[in-house]
Symmetry: C2
Subunit: 378 residues, 2 copies
């Protein structure tokens, strides 16, 4: 029996989006869902209790960062990531593949793995399918990701083809190296760049290996949105309907809705927490830059339609003051708000699927958020 089980509840008659549940060793996640990112074993600025209050059921943490600092052996000694960070709900860890290509220095890819230098201190390090499994087994996440290469965008067809084939070989090595399949589920990552035939090849390679879940990687890397949606449309139908599907690194409100409409169950992104730290709030009326002078004496909440802790108790004027005065509490409030916004958006998406009206919800939401309906996919 796999550590991860997907339960399909229903499909939206209007869009084909899936309402479901992902069962993990640390609880049940209603899907489609958004996962807040806690890169360094903490979601920047906020507590596990606050994550629970805003109704997050799963968070993501980064293998690359924890491998570098504090080190996976220390996390294992601490009793695993859940215990160390005081989070008893589900955790997904990525494989380190994405960061090793975006953050590290002097990297060299071989069939065996990737040699690179730490972006923190220049140390020579090595990640491979086997190391990535060892690290994630030490972290003890509920969902682990196979070690992959995320090819750059744009890249030549030939490069992406070779990279994608290697990612499939690495996926097989990950399955073999995984030491805790009984209590940690390993997802395969579909790559293939922006080439539909390579995406299909990757999906077929990976599904033949029978992972308990599949991710779409290498998207939202700079390509136009319509291309990302096209890749989803080409690939998602090839994935088994009894397994969860995770679109990696995607978290803008429009993409969460559009991705759900294309059969995606799980999303993660640093966007809500990153823009929060820059004083930008996601609201039902679109983005709001609370630092702007026009909010100086605006005593309404960030989003009058929101029921989060920040909106129940604090005004735009106060949050603006805190951020201008470099006070941590301001960033905490905007972070709580943005995460609540996306978690709540997914609750609305699930309700719309339940009512077979996700297309209608999408149109209403886009109009209110200030995205013209015909901008879909662009």
């Amino acid at each position: 029996m796999s550590a991860i089980r997907y339960e399909l509840i229903k499909t939206c008659a209007q869009t084909g989006a899936r309402l479901g549940r992902v069962h993990t060793p640390h609880g049940v996640i209603e899907t489609p869902t958004f996962m807040p990112v806690g890169t360094q074993a903490t979601v920047k600025g906020i507590s596990p209790e606050e994550l629970k209050e805003l109704n997050a059921h799963i968070i993501l943490s980064n293998t690359y960062h924890l491998f570098l600092r504090p080190g996976h052996e220390l996390v294992r000694e601490a009793g695993g990531l859940h215990k160390m960070m005081n989070w008893d709900r589900s955790i997904l860890t990525d494989s380190g593949g994405f960061q090793v290509f975006s953050l590290s220095e002097n990297r060299k890819i071989t069939e065996e793995g990737v040699h690179f230098r730490s972006h923190l201190n220049g140390d020579k390090l090595f990640l491979s399918p086997e190391v990535a499994m060892d690290v994630q087994n030490s972290l003890g996440s509920d969902i682990m990701m196979a070690f992959d290469e995320c090819p750059p965008y744009p890249a030549t067809y030939e490069y992406v083809k070779q990279s994608t084939e290697r990612t499939s070989r690495w996926a097989e090595r990950c399955l073999k190296a995984h030491r805790r399949p009984h209590d940690q589920g390993l997802f395969g990552i579909v790559q293939g760049g922006m080439h539909a035939d390579l995406r299909k090849m990757s999906a077929l390679d990976l599904t033949s290996l029978d992972f308990p879940g599949y991710a779409m990687g290498g998207l939202s890397v700079g390509e136009p949105k319509h291309l990302m949606y096209e890749m989803l449309e080409e690939t998602v139908p090839l994935l088994p309907s009894n397994k969860p599907r995770y679109l990696m690194g995607v978290g803008s409100p429009d993409c969460l809705v559009e991705g759900s409409m294309r059969g995606i169950d799980m999303f993660d992104c640093v966007l809500p927490t990153r823009i929060a730290r820059n004083g930008t709030a996601m609201t039902s009326q679109g983005r709001l830059v609370v630092k702007n002078a026009k909010y100086v004496s605006d005593f309404s909440p960030l989003d009058p339609e929101c029921s989060c802790y920040a909106c129940r108790n604090y005004s735009r004027a106060y949050i603006r003051h805190l951020i201008r005065a470099d006070e941590m509490f301001g960033l905490r409030l905007t972070t709580i708000h943005n995460l609540h916004f996306l978690v709540h958006l997914m609750e609305q998406v699930r309700e719309a699927i339940r009512q077979d009206r996700l297309q209608d919800f999408r149109d209403e939401f886009f109009e209110k958020y200030g995205m013209a309906s015909n901008e879909s996919g662009f």
Copy 2:
């Protein structure tokens, strides 16, 4: 009827320390008490709910900072400081006197008040007894402080004498300018530098004006501790026993105990929050610099005897990781811990007074904290 009322419950037979209650428009404060500092309308990094959980009943906020940013008119428009910052317990605001002398630039003192330039943007500003009252009336704090000059240390006898006499004249002007005596209590500040006779003169001047409470200002400004204790011993007995007594800017654990033994009821200091942000925890065994390498795999709490949120849920190893990784949550945990430590210390002081054994408690506490008993006052 004054907005502030002091109720003396009992006096410690062993030391003369006072167990009491300060009644304010926003609740009752058991004394002796420690007040966390929320300079810019927030206690750095933590929420009002967290302050309540660690049992804080009164916080301090700074008139000088709020006068500069966001401005007291904005706070008044927001419905006052309590409402703006979502804190429904008591607030004490200082007068701006201390900061105008320690932070501002190009200050010029006249009988009328102080001309200075903002340390934020160089704006020309003016504070006087009347302005300080207007600002604090706008903030709506439960306890306001009279506008004073805090003379430098060391300073000539003649300078301190003239300054202290002016502070008394300013105190009288504060009483006259105060517009909300029914719901805000105004405390006088005893100055006089390190000169016992000037301290006495100041105390007599101020008590003749009949404030609802008195503060000792201009201490802990660089003088040796024995001198501070000497000034307290010379002055506190001159203050009426039916009014609260507040020692400004003092918050090291030893001084809280020693000050209580000399009849002080209220204390405030940025020390616990400031050193927390530097990764230093106050513990029952003394200071602990959690960033140090020796805690890398120490999975015990900051203080095994502590029951705060940080100590119940997180290890030294995890907090060390967070602080090294520049994660806000680490500073939040050390801040919660340090504030809890001092608030809890005052709970222990009150219990010791109740049992007429504060001297014994002091000796036990000092020994455990690593301060030799004969260091008292030095």
